[in-house]
């Protein structure tokens, strides 16, 4: 793990990169990274995240700045700008049931090719996907997702990079920290090694590449 300045962290993310971003309606989203991606004018990004928040919040800032080419999410309903760009500007949006999205990310981080889920059987979600019967029940094969970068919001981070999260700010963060080649963490508090007891570490330090402190 290396402590890094915010602008330097974002400078290492190229146009066209695929980013997994933590957060649920902006709660648990690393806001400084969103602001800096907009400030540096990043373009053509693919975002994998639960939702696109609302205008001016979290991932909503990237939407408004037209920084996105493609969104993989479970919900865009609270951001009219995402819906508008999807209808009018060719923003690609793949809607995925939330439980399927998080399992596809988990699979991507766990060395699995995908997961079998009953969710989506008999709905438009099954279009183009393989159906597999196991012991008399039908499942959809949902393939794994990976990304170039995971942008994670943690609550505590120790000097080695061990992470904990706060309440509903946890959501997708520990999952995306497993599924991306480079993991960048905004940490609310950086603490001494040992402050987070081994039993309370949620994301172990070796998974973390860069930490941006106090953000």
């Amino acid at each position: 793990m290396r402590m890094i300045a915010l602008d330097e962290a974002v400078a290492s993310i190229p146009d066209g990169a695929t980013l997994m971003v933590g957060g649920f309606m902006g709660v648990g989203t690393p806001e400084p990274l969103m602001d800096e991606l907009v400030r540096q004018g990043r373009r053509e990004l693919t975002i994998v995240a639960n939702d696109t928040a609302s205008p001016g919040v979290g991932i909503g800032k990237l939407v408004t700045a037209k920084a996105l080419r493609r969104v993989v999410a479970s919900h865009i309903g609270l951001n009219p700008e995402t819906q508008k760009q999807m209808m009018e500007d060719g923003l690609q949006v793949e809607l995925v049931p939330q439980g399927t999205l998080v399992e596809r990310i988990r699979a991507g981080g766990c060395g699995l090719g995908g997961v079998l889920t009953p969710t989506g059987i008999g709905t438009v979600v099954e279009n183009g996907k393989r159906k597999i019967e196991v012991e008399g029940r039908e499942y959809l094969l949902e393939t794994a997702l990976q990304a170039d970068f995971a942008l994670v919001q943690a609550f505590l981070c120790d000097y080695l990079g061990n992470l904990t999260y706060a309440l509903t700010g946890r959501n997708f963060n520990p999952l995306i920290a497993m599924a991306a080649r480079t993991v960048m963490v905004c940490a609310e508090h950086v603490v001494l090694v040992g402050v987070i007891a081994p039993d309370h570490v949620v994301t172990p330090a070796p998974l973390v590449d860069y930490v941006i402190a106090r953000c």
């Binding site: 609270l78 819906q83 439980g99 706060a166």
Partner: protein
């Protein structure tokens, strides 16, 4: 009493002590206001919390403590927090006793459509497909009609949320169940006649059998 209150109060009567329950946004959220005194119910927020409590008092909101709509909530003593994989493992894995969701349409076999109106509204399914597929019991909380048009229809014209039929619909007019995959009138709201319910329903309704055991 306004329709939303009638619906929420009636659904609260379906709660049982110790249940793990997920409430959707809108009318379903109101159900939490009518938990019978002395009963303990665990409310789950799919963004990663069991033990979701009421809206915080003025000035007491915490940025890390929100419901599935992103609005501030509180956590009751004994609450637990977890990631989204755990949250949906609870939902899909059959650990959730009851989910209460809103609905756009339900057909006469109990199939729910509640996540998009093609060409008009594409919010995404969020957790709805997993909830309907995985919860032990599914209750739809909705008004009986929308702009005078029936929402309980012969066949859904909107994209389905799941092929798993719901267990109960509660509206301001009636309670409808789906034994043997047939929409069956279980009760009418106070002061509402069976004829009024039938007139507001497009689906074929099986009527109650007063003499049945």
């Amino acid at each position: 009493m306004d329709p939303q209150t009638i619906i929420a109060r009636r659904i609260a009567r379906e709660l049982r002590d110790g249940m793990l329950v997920n409430l959707g946004i809108g009318i379903p959220t109101l159900v939490a206001n009518y938990v019978p005194a002395g009963m303990h119910v665990f409310f789950q927020s799919e963004n990663g919390l069991i033990g979701t409590g009421p809206v915080p008092e003025q000035g007491m909101a915490m940025r890390w403590l929100t419901d599935a709509g992103g609005k501030p909530v509180t956590a009751l003593p004994g609450a637990s927090a977890f990631d989204s994989a755990m949250s949906f493992a609870l939902i899909r894995g059959g650990h959730l006793d009851l989910t209460v969701l809103g609905g756009l349409q339900v057909d006469q076999q109990g199939h729910l459509a509640n996540w998009m109106v093609p060409g008009k509204m594409v919010p995404g399914m969020g957790g709805a497909m997993d909830l309907v597929t995985g919860a032990k019991r599914v209750i739809v909380a909705m008004q009986h009609t929308a702009k005078g048009r029936p929402k309980i229809v012969r066949e859904c014209s909107l994209p389905l949320t799941s092929t798993r039929p719901v267990d109960l619909i509660v509206t301001e007019l009636a309670v409808i169940a789906f034994p043997e995959a047939r929409a069956t009138l279980v009760e009418t709201a106070e002061g509402v006649s069976v004829e009024e319910v039938r007139a507001a329903t497009e689906a074929e309704l099986v009527l109650p059998q007063p003499n049945a055991a």
